[in-house]
Symmetry: C2
């Protein structure tokens, strides 16, 4: 194995970075479990025809081929002749989850609440600086036939709680931006714009190209009048975190004569969400009428989440309500869910120096080795510590103690344990443990000594820098 070069778009962390990522994953998992979400994993691959159902992402799929088949191809035989379905790596966890629900519908209890934390892959061009492999953490609730609206209120609040639990390690405050597809659709249709998908697609470009350009596109590509385009932009400009936002949308619709029943349904839902959120997680949820979400399967609430002060990073947690993602023709499974882009979040936390691990190894105590003949005694001390839940390692060689202490220091291991010396009379003195940060060294018994709780495991803390 000669020179190695990192692969663009496939992030990897050093051990201390992985401690940060693992901590984030542990906190998310615990929050999801406290809320009763069952953890599942799905296979990494799906049949290609399932992955390509949503045209927009078709260019991003990694297709798999067995090397064996490649060889056959070179010899002229097409792999599709072998009856093997073409497989691709999943690019999100929603499509596999929908498939899992259909496949196991008879064995699941509905509404089914699940969380899923896995890698996904997208064949993005590496020059765009995007990740080609990244971890997502998803929660969804899926009903059989119907799903009460209150889940559209609860799920973003679960995510707010999960992300809020990361505040103590230095993750910035989050703001969840919410909208409702029924509001947009009702308003556009009330205006006389019936290509709702098309209008949403243009409005979704607001942050990238600005209001004037979006207005021009609405006129040029969606056939809107200048007044209709202005109305769309005025709607998109509305945001707020209390019920007055609903009144402002309604007033706008009235001024354009764009009121519809669908708009009213959407406003009632959006109002309920904003109101409940203001009560249960004040300041976190903001109605933002320009949130469109690219994917066409959302039918109600849609969500995006920004880190306050890091808005240019884009949304780190997005999702929405979908009525028909999973359907086997006879039964439909509506759902609502959100997905955290864990790799994007962790990458930002590390690269911006927002968080740090107190050490890069689990080890709290390094047991020194006097000589190879007494390694057994050091092993026994380590075993006694581990049996009481204290992570311990034994020095790899019986080097002089200064070198063994440096071994601990390089890894951030706070304590070094020294075996009691055996005197000429054959009696063994007490063991000692040294806090290598303070230099303090005290007698200690491996069956009783405890490190301070803060030193037991590596912790993730806000970085000084």
């Amino acid at each position: 194995m000669a020179r190695v070069t990192p692969l663009s778009g496939f992030p990897e962390w050093l051990p201390d970075g992985r401690i940060v990522e693992q901590h984030v994953l542990d906190v998310l998992r615990r929050t999801f479990e406290l809320h009763g979400f069952a953890g599942i994993e799905t296979r990494a691959v799906e049949p290609l025809d399932q992955l390509l159902r949503k045209g927009e992402t078709s260019k991003e799929v990694y297709v798999l081929r067995r090397l064996h088949d490649e060889t056959d191809d070179a010899a002229g035989a097409a792999s599709s002749d072998r009856g093997d379905k073409q497989l691709g790596l999943h690019f999100d966890l929603t499509v596999p989850f929908a498939r899992y629900v259909l496949e196991n519908a008879g064995r699941l209890a509905f509404p089914f609440k699940r969380f899923q934390i896995q890698k996904v892959w997208r064949g993005e061009r590496p020059q765009d600086g995007r990740f080609r492999e990244f971890a997502q953490a998803d929660i969804d609730v899926v009903g059989a036939g119907d799903l009460p609206y209150h889940f559209e209120v609860e799920l973003p609040l679960v995510m707010a709680e999960a992300l809020g639990a990361l505040r103590e390690i230095g993750v910035p405050e989050v703001r969840i931006l919410v909208n409702n597809r029924k509001v947009a659709e009702g308003f556009y249709r009330g205006l006389g714009l019936d290509d709702v998908e098309g209008v949403l697609r243009q409005v979704d470009k607001l942050d990238k190209i600005g209001a004037d350009a979006v207005a021009a596109l609405l006129v040029a590509e969606q056939g809107a009048t200048a007044e209709q385009a202005r109305a769309c932009l005025e709607l998109a400009a509305i945001s707020g975190s209390d019920a007055t936002v609903i009144d402002r949308v309604r007033a706008l619709a009235v001024s354009y004569g764009a009121g519809t029943e669908l708009l009213e349904t959407g406003l009632a839902e959006l109002g309920a969400l904003v109101e409940a959120a203001a009560r249960r997680a004040p300041g976190v949820v903001v109605a933002d009428l320009k949130i469109a979400r690219g994917l066409d399967y959302y039918t109600g609430s849609v969500y995006e989440t920004v880190l306050v002060g890091h808005e240019q990073l884009g949304s780190i947690c997005s999702g929405g309500r979908y009525d028909t993602l999973a359907s086997d023709g006879k039964n439909t499974y509506p759902g609502v869910g959100l997905s955290i882009g864990v790799s994007r979040l962790v990458s930002r936390l590390l690269s911006a120096g927002l968080v740090a691990a107190t050490r890069g190894v689990p080890t709290a105590v390094l047991v020194a080795v006097l000589d190879e003949e007494s390694r057994d005694r050091s092993d026994a001390v380590a075993a006694a510590l581990r049996a009481r839940g204290i992570p311990a390692d034994v020095a790899p060689t019986a080097a002089r103690f200064g070198k063994q202490i440096r071994y601990a220091d390089r890894r951030g291991i706070p304590f070094v344990w020294f075996l009691g010396a055996t005197g000429e009379d054959g009696a063994t003195g007490p063991d000692q443990v040294k806090d290598i940060r303070s230099g303090e060294q005290v007698d200690a018994d491996a069956g009783a000594w405890e490190p301070p709780a803060a030193d037991l495991w590596p912790r993730v803390v806000p970085a000084a820098g």
Copy 2:
């Protein structure tokens, strides 16, 4: 999305099966961390040329191609023209770890102890009933330049401890079978058989085809005499868990005049391993001179692990010492490691009915909903329970209580919480919580009530059946 059919070779678990798998992973991780192994993850892909360095597995690799490139291919452009390296999914965690070590050598502290728990993929023919995607849990220690022998003793004992920690959920006892490449190589060379790889490859077939067939192959393919073949088989027949096994090998070598210095080195190492293991984990480690391991990079100890009573499952945890897997030409990083086939293990535990989860959801308490108007009160109870670390869910609809209790029962949720009724005088009575298994119902305060510890989280236990 129409009919769905499971993909052969890509296992997925229902939520209660995933609880079993997650528990196994949690126990392994904790054991590895207590021993000071740092957790890392590597990307799922490696350049194809790196994956194909070991000829034997080349047929099993999944090659990735961006769908975009596929389209171009159809138009006649070869994807290799684009300068993108061809990528494949890793088929184990050792090759990626070796690459990670080389790539980050300047930023790691050696000896570097890491654990890694990830999926791997192999493009096996599905009709063989093998997994094409499965989770592995690996531990390795890698040194810079050298690595003391004692790690070859310690690593299998860490795995013995990790697997031993699973005994309480019903995982059968394990037996770790160990051998040493130097013993086999020294013995074969002493016999005059210099194609050591070739002889090992034939001996590795013993369990599949039997001694007579292996002897015939040794004669036919390795050019061994009948006597040499007999000696190889006699060596392979030796096993035992104490130091006498070393004496028996040495006596055999003497009887064939096959003693070599390399053999003596190997016997000293194997003897030290067996002796230390007998002291630290009695009965777990057995020297078995027929253990060969297919991969050619092992240079010292080799390990396989069987579940006692389930030997036909094959090895669930294998590995060995390698001197030259990772090398950048200037520096060499010798290591020793073992890998647990987690999916194979969990699949057996579930299919053989050895273990079970006490429930399929994390939830300990379902908070009933009297009517949608009071859902807020139910939400507040659930929040109070969660704040004290009790997993709680709220009923999805304000159905009659019998239906809400059935909702809990179907999921194995042990407790249902009822809000105190509000009397005509406006006063609210105490909440009550019902153990739906016993039917017992008592007054309870969401700020103080605790479920029994055994009911707090789902547990994994030996199955009754």
